[in-house]
């Protein structure tokens, strides 16, 4: 779908965790899983830039975002009330592809879970067998677990401090899920986690798709502000060449 700019009405603003909110807007942003939108958090010139958020879920008449208060922009966003209008541009970027294998292993780290709910829904609709791994530092970082669990065939949660699920880094528990049937790997989370997932994929010979982040201005590929260095040494714009990249493109083979 072509991106467009629209004014969307805020329907619901739910606190679903410590500092974590689920925001539902009215209207259609025909997004693919892994795509994102740019949101005007406040009707003023400060903060100036839009804020990028992954599509957490979407339907023909709603768009749902899942976000954490990370600074001033997200704080202001969390104060917006039902009935208010927000400017939203999207869908933007390249999402997750359907993949070739019948099995999908999806790994979420903290807020990296945001785009993966819609991905689970999409994979399930495509008839895949889905294993979902959800990691966070502490129990407080695992939100909406019921929703994620209900969309996965296998569900594993892990926290670094063991306060919920298994104790350890989530990537430690992924290996068995890759040892059987050929699977595609999908992940979103902090960079060290993505690196670990890429290594697992390489070992298993699996296709691997990673969703990245960068500071953005335009979000549409025009300003060249969000580049990261690709494994070939060339630049990639996270907003339009990504945010989802093949693991090799970022970490090499």
């Amino acid at each position: 779908m072509m991106p467009k700019k629209q004014e969307m009405m805020l329907l619901r603003q739910e606190q679903v965790g410590e500092d974590i909110f689920r925001l539902t807007l009215q209207g259609e942003v025909a997004a693919l899983p892994g795509q994102f939108v740019q949101v005007g958090v406040a009707p003023a010139l400060d903060p100036y830039l839009l804020r990028p958020f992954s599509v957490h879920d979407c339907s023909p008449d709603t768009l749902t975002l899942l976000y954490r208060i990370a600074g001033r922009g997200t704080l202001l966003l969390s104060r917006r009330q039902p009935g208010e209008m927000l400017t939203v541009t999207g869908p933007l970027g390249r999402g997750f592809p359907a993949g070739k294998a019948d099995r999908a292993v999806v790994v979420a780290g903290g807020m990296g879970a945001a785009p993966l709910l819609y991905l689970l829904r999409f994979l399930r609709a495509a008839g895949k067998d889905v294993a979902f791994f959800y990691g966070a530092r502490t129990a407080a970082g695992l939100v909406l677990q019921d929703s994620y669990r209900s969309l996965a065939d296998e569900y594993t949660a892990a926290t670094e401090d063991g306060s919920a699920g298994k104790k350890g880094l989530v990537t430690q528990f992924v290996h068995p899920a890759l040892s059987g049937k050929k699977a595609d790997l999908y992940a979103c989370g902090p960079l060290p986690m993505l690196r670990a997932v890429a290594a697992l994929a390489k070992e298993a010979g699996a296709d691997c798709y990673l969703s990245l982040e960068a500071r953005m201005a335009c979000g549409v590929g025009a300003c060249l502000g969000c580049v990261i260095r690709g494994a070939d040494g060339g630049w990639r714009r996270v907003c339009t060449d990504g945010p989802v990249f093949r693991a090799e493109e970022v970490f090499g083979r």
Partner: protein, 320 residues
């Protein structure tokens, strides 16, 4: 009656006075998905150099109060590749202005040489905020003599409309403007970004890998308006005003200050359809106030201020 929005910049007649600012619009394709670029007065493309430039390492962006810093470092594919992209823009039947950059006069001239035969290129905008490697890295745009020499050289190399884009990081922008006019520029555009910096108090590091970056957005609008006011009354060629425009009222302010046309830069990042919205807003403004043509309001604030513009503009009074 819909008001007449046409304006002239050098040899070009623009259907309206609104264009994107260089570097904020890529080579046009990214925004063509939002609206037809035929709605623009002109298309201004990314700063283009003779050879490809890789630009600066990330982080390249930082948000600031009512503005942003960028340190893209003129990443661009070079003039040959740019030409292919520019050809794609011909379909929009809108003048294409190529922003030209380089580290030496020779590099600027190479760009002109590569592009001058290309009919898809309507005009050049010389970005003289670039560091002059020969002259110890100080930007070309900070010394009237250097500007004069560079602009003369380019003037001799092309018949196309030649716009010179001024840096605001100077003591006397009027002197630079006059140097460019004397050297044969057809028009001036201003302002480029203010040199700024951001530091993260928690990590205790500069936010940009390049340390400093260019400040743009509403934060700089007062400086831009002042410079457009000063320059437009000191020269006889048209001025394209920019710096912090986010809406039609902002654009009108620049026209009232003496700009013949306006460019919109970082506001694209908060509103991808800002340009056509500003075009419509200017037309609505003219209609509401009973003007028949946008030309009628160019410099009008100066008449309101009793024509004492240059004298009063910051010279005679201590400001604070």
């Amino acid at each position: 009656m819909t008001p007449d929005l046409t304006v002239k910049i050098g040899k070009l007649t623009l259907r309206n006075p609104v264009m994107p600012a260089s570097g904020c619009f890529g080579y046009g394709e990214e925004y063509a998905v939002f609206y037809s670029l035929e709605q623009l007065g002109a298309i201004v493309v990314k700063g283009t150099t003779a050879k490809p430039w890789t630009g600066n390492p990330p982080v390249r962006l930082a948000e600031t109060p009512a503005g942003m810093l960028n340190a893209i470092g003129l990443q661009n594919p070079g003039a040959e590749a740019a030409r292919e992209k520019i050809r794609q823009l011909q379909q929009y039947n809108t003048p294409v202005i190529v922003n030209v950059a380089g580290h030496s006069p020779k590099e600027y001239l190479q760009v002109i040489r590569i592009l001058d035969e290309e009919p898809a290129v309507s005009a050049y905008e010389l970005n003289i905020s670039c560091p002059n490697v020969r002259d110890g890295g100080l930007a070309f745009g900070t010394d009237p003599q250097v500007v004069n020499t560079l602009v003369q050289a380019v003037r001799q190399a092309t018949e196309k409309t030649l716009i010179v884009k001024l840096s605001p990081n100077v003591t006397d922008i009027v002197a630079i403007a006059r140097a460019a006019e004397d050297a044969g520029a057809d028009a001036l555009s201003l302002i480029n970004t203010l040199l700024g910096m951001a530091i993260d108090s928690e990590t205790r590091r500069p936010l940009l890998a390049n340390l400093t970056g260019g400040l743009s957005g509403p934060a700089i609008k007062p400086v831009a308006l002042r410079m457009v006011w000063q320059v437009s009354e000191a020269v006889h060629i048209p001025v394209i005003g920019m710096g912090g425009i986010t809406c039609a009222a902002d654009a009108v302010e620049f026209l009232l200050a003496g700009a013949t046309a306006v460019a919109i830069g970082s506001a694209h990042f908060i509103n991808p359809t800002v340009c056509p919205e500003v075009v419509q807003g200017i037309a609505a403004y003219l209609t509401r106030h009973g003007f028949r043509a946008v030309r009628e309001i160019i410099g009008l604030a100066k008449k309101a201020a009793g024509g004492e513009g240059e004298k009063d503009a910051g010279k005679d009074h201590c400001r604070s």
